[in-house]
Structure formats: structure tokens, C-alpha cells
């Protein structure tokens, strides 16, 4: 266990305007489960992309089993038995599980393929991963995210990888699926595979990882030993942010006002959600809890006009509004921060400034022409207020880190001056510091009387932030919990069982 299988020594990588990695070293032992922690932009992903051959380092060396290697392309990485599972999977959705597993190394029979044997092997692999008798002919696009992840891991096993890197694997998984994943990780470790694990979920890290390396601003901070699972979350947070974080969740001043700002009556959509009824008061933070796939995001999209509803009424300030499309909802004062910020929230090839203004272009233009001065002053006001870093309004969106991208989506909606804000998983995949900032922003909005709907899969977060929590199960609201009586156990129970 003491032999280093991988050594990355003094790695430096600079991008125009930022030094992403400054003399960073990282060592991985054989059979070790090693976590890398750090805030967004700390350099975790860059380090892994260097290992994966996506970027080439400006300086530094990589040793595998003590031998110096050059990793210039993703293929070099695979040949060195490194397998990386990125947050965005590398699967071809239109191909079956078997075809994905065998992509590039199909078993041949004459000029054709030996489908039978490939099928058998695929089934065996999945069985080894704990998925017995699964139909391997299913298209990947028809599989759940958890299964897709298993297929990715299956690919790594198939490549006979010695080093497996997992980037935020549990961000999209339900609790049950997460437990299954950790059981699988244990199996892989027992086989001598070394695993590098990147996650923002510190609870998981302290209870499972052998060592934790913390990065901050592209530099090594410390590597902690966790042999006896003795380190705690707060230690890591302190190292990540470089200061004590007094409280996880900012104090909220509650409004006494109970005026209903939004009322949803009998909202239904076939096969998705049924008879959804709830009220939201001014300045209230209303949480929506439930398992992945329970229909929470769909309900929000239904309210926002992004998903056609079959029946139901939406009342804003007691008046019925007809929402057919998102622009109707925006006019009614509703904003939606979608679940998947990359796919639904941002235009990566546009710059920060244009992204921020996307929902409110009319506000900035006179007879269709954008008034640059007005736009710039408002954009900079929000960049400053939300502390979007770096504060370069002309920088392309794709070059910002996850937390800053999320802040850009928030800025886009704050400019619209909404009265009801729906946040769908606003803190997914972003670091502790940025999370705290987002909670603070939510609180400030609530203080101003904005009604807030907060959808999250992290129950602790909902308990920390919300005034009231509704639980959704199979498209229906099944229970309501008030702040005074929040109980983790009860909420989980009503989310999971019939």
C-alpha cells in the first residue's frame, strides 16, 4: 500500500490571464482511495485533465510506477492504464451498452462482429459491477444516469485501468445509488485499482477516503491522512477556504408577512405530475425535496411554461396568469434557474455580459439597439454584487468555473427583477464557499419580499435554508414539513416509501 503508483510532481499550467496550477504535486498509492478537494477554480479539474491528456502541463513531470511518462493525448492516458470518468459522460447515447463497452475494440469474427461473445462479455462485466441480468442491448440513452455511470465504470474495468478518476460521481445519484456506488468502489479497491475521487460532498469523503489532498487557488495546501476516518468536515473546509467558516448556513431574518404571492392549483401533466397544489408567501423560502426523478424539476418547468401542462391554474398575487411559454412567466415576474446550467441556463460561446442580459435584452435596448452604457453599468453592478470571478465581462462563458457560471445564471434573473424565483439544484457541483454565497443571496432576496422555491437533492441544505419543505414522490406532493418540526428522518421516509 505504500508504493506510489502515480506521482505528479511540480505541475504548473497557465491559461491566458490565470495560473490554474502552480507547482502542484500529487501522489497516489496503489489501492488507495484518494480524494481531491478544493473550491471551484482551485485547479482540481485542470489537474485531472492533465492526467487525462486533455491539457499538457507547462512544467512538471508525471511518474507512473516510478517511470517518467509523457501524456500528450487522451490515448496516452488510456495506454498508461488511466481511466477518467468526467462529469459529462463519454458515452454514445444512440449505441447500446454492449456497443459502448466495446467501442474501438470490438471482437471480430471474419469481417463482421462477434456479437454473441461481445454480448456475453458485456453481461459478465455488468454482473461484476453488481448489475445482474441487465439487458445489455438497451440503448444508453434509455438508461438512467446511475446505469450510465456504471457503464462508464465498466469501460474502465474493461480497459483494465490501474488508476480510475471519478469527477463528482455522486452529484447526480440518489442516496440508494450512492450507497451502491461506494460498495462497488470498495470492490475495485480490493482488486488493487487506485481511485482518485473529486467531490464537493465532504461527508462522503471523510467517511470513505484514505487520504485527502486539498488544493486552493492552484496550489497544494495539504494532504491529510484519514486512516482511521478521523478527520472531520470542518478541517477540510478550513483548508479549502483558508479561513474558518463560522456557519454553514447564513442566518435568515424571517418576514412576518404572510401575503400569498404564488398559488398553484391542481397542476397536472400526464405521466409526470398530478394535482400539484401549493402556496408560496412573500419572502418565504419553500423547499422541494424528493428523490431524483420524482418530478420536481418537471413541476417547476410546468409553472415556468417550459413544459406544457394538461390542466391546472397558476395565480400570481391572487390573479390567474396564463403561462404558455417562458416569456409569459417572465412577464408575470417568475424566474427559473434550471437544473442543468450548462445545457439549459447558459450559452457557453457567448461572453459573460451577453449571458447575463439574455432574459432582459428589451430593458437594455432602444428600438432594438443595445445601449452599451446602460448594459455595462448594470452588468458590472451584478458582477460586483455576486462577486463573479474573474470580473471580466467579455470573457467567454465556457472559461468560467462552475460556481461562477451558476452566479451568472443568477445574475441573469436578478436583472429581470423577479417576484418569484425558482432555483432548481442551484448548488449542485459547486464549492462550499460559493454555496454559502448563494445561500446569502437567496436570503437577501427573501428579505426583499421575493418568494423563493428551492429544489434540492441535498436534504441538509434544504433544512438549513428553507422555511417550509414539501416532499414530492412520484409526481405528487406527499407531505409538508414546517421549520419548527424539520426532521431529516421523516422527510427521507416520506420521499422514499409508499
Amino acid at each position: 500500500m505504500d508504493k506510489n503508483i502515480l506521482e505528479m510532481n511540480n505541475i504548473t499550467k497557465a491559461f491566458p490571464g490565470v495560473v490554474a496550477l502552480d507547482n502542484v504535486s500529487f501522489h497516489l498509492r496503489k489501492g488507495e482511495f484518494h480524494a481531491i478537494c478544493g473550491e471551484n477554480g482551485a485547479g482540481k479539474s485542470t489537474l485531472m485533465k492533465i492526467l487525462g491528456g486533455v491539457y499538457t502541463p507547462d512544467a512538471g513531470e508525471i511518474l507512473i510506477n516510478g517511470k517518467s511518462v509523457q501524456i500528450g493525448t487522451p490515448l496516452d492516458s488510456i495506454l498508461n492504464k488511466i481511466s477518467i470518468i468526467y462529469q459529462e459522460f463519454n458515452l454514445v447515447p444512440e449505441l447500446s451498452i454492449t456497443e459502448n463497452l466495446f467501442l474501438g475494440k470490438e471482437i471480430r469474427k471474419g469481417i463482421g462482429l462477434n456479437k454473441k461473445q461481445m454480448h456475453k462479455e458485456a453481461k459478465k462485466t455488468l454482473a461484476r459491477l453488481g448489475l445482474k441480468d441487465f439487458d445489455c442491448e438497451r440503448l444508453v440513452s434509455n438508461c438512467s444516469i446511475a446505469i450510465q455511470q456504471l457503464v462508464e465504470i465498466g469501460k474502465a474495468v474493461f480497459y483494465d485501468a490501474d488508476i480510475l478518476v471519478m469527477d463528482e460521481p455522486t452529484a447526480v445519484l440518489s442516496e440508494k445509488e450512492t450507497t451502491a456506488l461506494f460498495a462497488l468502489i470498495e470492490q475495485l479497491l480490493a482488486k488493487g485499482i487506485s481511485i482518485i475521487y473529486i467531490s464537493h460532498r465532504l461527508e462522503e469523503i471523510v467517511s470513505t477516503c484514505h487520504r485527502v489532498t486539498v488544493l486552493r487557488d492552484g496550489k497544494n495546501v495539504k494532504t491529510l491522512n484519514n486512516d482511521h476516518y478521523n478527520i472531520n468536515k470542518e478541517d477540510i473546509i478550513k483548508l479549502m477556504v483558508g479561513r474558518d467558516m463560522m456557519d454553514y448556513y447564513p442566518e435568515k431574518i424571517r418576514l412576518q408577512n404572510k401575503d400569498v404571492i404564488l398559488e398553484v392549483k391542481n397542476l397536472s401533466k400526464e405521466k409526470t405530475f398530478r394535482h400539484v397544489n401549493f402556496q408560496l408567501a412573500k419572502g418565504e423560502i419553500l423547499g422541494f425535496s424528493g428523490l431524483v426523478g420524482a418530478g420536481r424539476s418537471e413541476i417547476m418547468k410546468g409553472i415556468f411554461g417550459a413544459l406544457k401542462i394538461d390542466e391546472g391554474e397558476i395565480l400570481v398575487d391572487g390573479e390567474r396568469v396564463h403561462i404558455q411559454k417562458p416569456s409569459d412567466a417572465i412577464r408575470a415576474g417568475i424566474a427559473l434557474l434550471p437544473e442543468d446550467r450548462k445545457r439549459e441556463g447558459l450559452v457557453m460561446k457567448l461572453n459573460l455580459s451577453d449571458n447575463i442580459c439574455l432574459a432582459t435584452l428589451k430593458q437594455f435596448s432602444k428600438m432594438g439597439t443595445i445601449i452599451k452604457k446602460k448594459k455595462n453599468s448594470l452588468v458590472h453592478k451584478f458582477i460586483g454584487y455576486l462577486q463573479i470571478r474573474p470580473a471580466l465581462s467579455e470573457r467567454l462563458m465556457e472559461n468560467f468555473s462552475g460556481g461562477n457560471q451558476q452566479k451568472a445564471v443568477i445574475a441573469k434573473w436578478l436583472i429581470a427583477n423577479p417576484r418569484i424565483v425558482i432555483l432548481d439544484e442551484p448548488t449542485r457541483g459547486i464549492d462550499v464557499g460559493a454555496k454559502y454565497e448563494i445561500y446569502t443571496i437567496i436570503n437577501e432576496l427573501a428579505k426583499k419580499g421575493v418568494g423563493i422555491i428551492f429544489v434540492s437533492s441535498e436534504l441538509l441544505e434544504l433544512i438549513g435554508v428553507c422555511d417550509r419543505i414539501l416532499v414530492v414522490r412520484e409526481g405528487k406532493i406527499v407531505s409538508e414539513h414546517m421549520k419548527e418540526g424539520f426532521s431529516e428522518e421523516e422527510i427521507i421516509k416520506s420521499a422514499a416509501y409508499n
Binding site: 490571464g17 461572453n351 471580466l392
Partner: protein, 331 residues
């Protein structure tokens, strides 16, 4: 030395003057194209000192580039929105025929031109409608429309050209304002409007957003169909303008006039740096792309290269420029 990096390199407030010069000179694809263009011109001045850099030849180049550049502006907007228009060429031909028919029937030139523009706009509008409401991919929708337009051209003309002798239309296609060809001025105005529209208006930003991420644009309250229909309609109007100039230049409305213009406009747009995937592109780049392709054709004519080989050369240029682009972007 040449660097083709698409626009959008962030401004760093602390940059030094030399960095600033470098960013402006090499940071944008337009500057690379401009240098390439200038290089070819300089070589030609040495090779053909008495024929290339003459006012006559320069006007020739402007005449040749005008029509392509005008319709390529429409193509640029469409490609930035994530689509493509294969019907632009035959739409151009159809509008020319319609105008000629109107004039033949005794209408005054202004109403005839208006008639042509309405037809062009209608064709573009139908493209937009089929793409947004029937949800056909732009490639298929406009391929169908190209055949429809081509068919109507032959139904209207039975294959014969219609000669044009209306002085106003001839003036637009062949006349000069002072020393400058009238059509070059028209091209200048359209390019300026196009640049302004793509970079300075809410419409331009919406088109880029739709091409960059249609779902995000929709969830930001942008009406995707309305804007797409507008883009295709606009391209249709520009095709009609190209049609007017073409018949004025050829002194006749020729049933085959529009052929290949769709490919020329796509080539100019792509060489100019517009992404086939949508979301990125500039009108200035498209102008430089059109100029580059035209100047190369012109240079090959002056160097007495066989006409068929000229076409081969243009194809090679498209592939080379786009290859350089792909390689520099990968870094």
C-alpha cells in the same frame, strides 16, 4: 505566424500596449484573413504589376464580390442561428425572373423590384416556417425549397432568358456612382447594417444565443421560432437584392443565374470564421471570406490559369483555411 482564433478573447484590464497590439493583430480570425488577403495582393502586385492593381481590375473585383457578399450576410445570420440555407441561390434566380416578368408586363421598376423582394422574403419566410413549425432540419427544408424555386424558375421561363433593358435596374447592376460601382455601394450599406444588427442589437444577441444553446435561449424567454423565421426571411430579402444586381449586371434574367450561389455564400461564410455549429460568427469575417475567394479567382484569371483549375483552387483554399482554423482552435 497567422493565428485564426475566433472573436471573444477576453480583455484584460492590465494588459500592456504591446500585448494589446498583439491581441488586436493576431487574436481575431479577421486579422488573420486580412493578412492573408493583403499577402495575396502584394504577391499579385509583383507578379502582374500592370494588370492587378489597376482601378479597372479593382472595380472588377468589387463587382464580382458584391452579390456573393450580400447573400453571404444572410447566410451568416442563418449559420450563426445554427441553421443553413441551401435555397439562397435559386431564390436569387427566382427573384430576378419575377422582376423581369413584372417589367415585361409593364410595371415600373420600383414596383417590380418590390415584387421581387416580396417573393424573396416569402421564400425565406416559408423556410423559417417549415423549420420551426414542422421541425424539419434546415438542411432538408431548404434543400426542398431550393428545388421548388428552381422548378418555378423553369415553369415561368420555360428555360429562356428574359432580356432586361430597364435603365434603373441596369444602373444598379452595371452603373457607377461617381467612380464607384453602384452595387458596391449597395453591398457596403448592407454589410454595415448586417454588422450593426449582429453585434449591436438585441436581435443579434438573440440569434447568437439561439445558435449557441437553443434550450437556454428558450428558457431565457427568447422566442426561438419568431427569431429563426426573421433570420430566414431576412436572408430571403438579401437573396432578392442579389437577384436585382445579377439581372442588372447580366442585362438579362437567366434561368440558371442562381446556381451555385448557395455554395459560394456558404464557402465565404465558413472561410470568414462562422461556426457550422452555430453561435459564433461575424459579418466582417464573411466580407473578408468573400473577398479572399474573389481575389483568388481574379488572380488566377490574371495569371491565365485554366478556368476549371480555378474552381479546384477555390476548393483547396476553403479546406486549407478551415484546417488552419481547426488546428489553432485545438490548442
Amino acid at each position: 505566424m497567422l493565428k485564426f482564433i475566433s472573436p471573444g478573447i477576453a480583455k484584460d484590464p492590465n494588459e500592456t500596449i504591446s500585448e494589446r497590439i498583439r491581441r488586436i493583430a493576431f487574436g481575431r480570425r479577421e486579422s488573420g484573413l486580412f493578412l492573408l488577403l493583403a499577402g495575396i495582393c502584394i504577391i499579385m502586385i509583383f507578379l502582374k504589376p500592370d494588370t492587378f492593381f489597376t482601378s479597372e481590375n479593382m472595380f472588377n473585383i468589387f463587382r464580382q464580390v458584391s452579390v456573393v457578399a450580400i447573400i453571404a450576410v444572410g447566410q451568416t445570420f442563418i449559420m450563426v442561428s445554427g441553421g443553413i440555407d441551401l435555397s439562397i441561390g435559386y431564390n436569387l434566380g427566382l427573384c430576378g425572373i419575377v422582376i423581369a416578368k413584372f417589367i415585361e408586363a409593364g410595371f415600373d421598376p420600383i414596383s417590380s423590384i418590390l415584387g421581387g423582394i416580396i417573393v424573396g422574403a416569402f421564400v425565406g419566410f416559408c423556410n423559417g416556417l417549415v423549420i420551426t413549425k414542422l421541425r424539419l432540419p434546415p438542411f432538408i427544408a431548404t434543400l426542398g425549397m431550393a428545388n421548388i424555386a428552381r422548378g418555378i424558375i423553369y415553369v415561368l421561363t420555360k428555360g429562356y432568358s428574359i432580356s432586361i433593358n430597364d435603365p434603373f435596374i441596369l444602373y444598379l447592376g452595371s452603373g457607377n456612382v461617381g467612380l464607384i460601382p453602384a452595387m458596391a455601394i449597395l453591398m457596403g450599406i448592407i454589410l454595415m447594417l448586417g454588422m450593426y444588427q449582429l453585434d449591436k442589437t438585441a436581435f443579434g444577441t438573440r440569434v447568437k444565443a439561439i445558435g449557441g444553446n437553443e434550450l437556454a435561449a428558450k428558457l431565457s424567454g427568447i422566442s426561438v421560432s419568431k427569431n429563426k423565421i426573421a433570420v430566414y426571411t431576412m436572408a430571403g430579402i438579401l437573396a432578392a437584392v442579389g437577384g436585382i444586381i445579377t439581372i442588372g449586371r447580366q442585362y438579362s434574367a437567366n434561368p440558371g443565374a442562381g446556381a451555385n450561389f448557395e455554395m459560394d455564400s456558404i464557402a465565404a461564410t465558413i472561410v470568414g470564421g462562422t461556426s457550422l455549429a452555430g453561435g459564433q460568427g461575424t459579418v466582417l469575417g464573411t466580407l473578408l471570406g468573400s473577398l479572399l475567394l474573389t481575389v483568388i479567382k481574379n488572380a488566377l484569371i490574371l495569371l491565365s490559369v485554366n478556368m476549371y483549375w480555378q474552381t479546384v483552387a477555390v476548393g483547396v483554399i476553403i479546406i486549407i483555411v478551415c484546417t488552419i482554423d481547426v488546428f489553432t482552435r485545438r490548442k
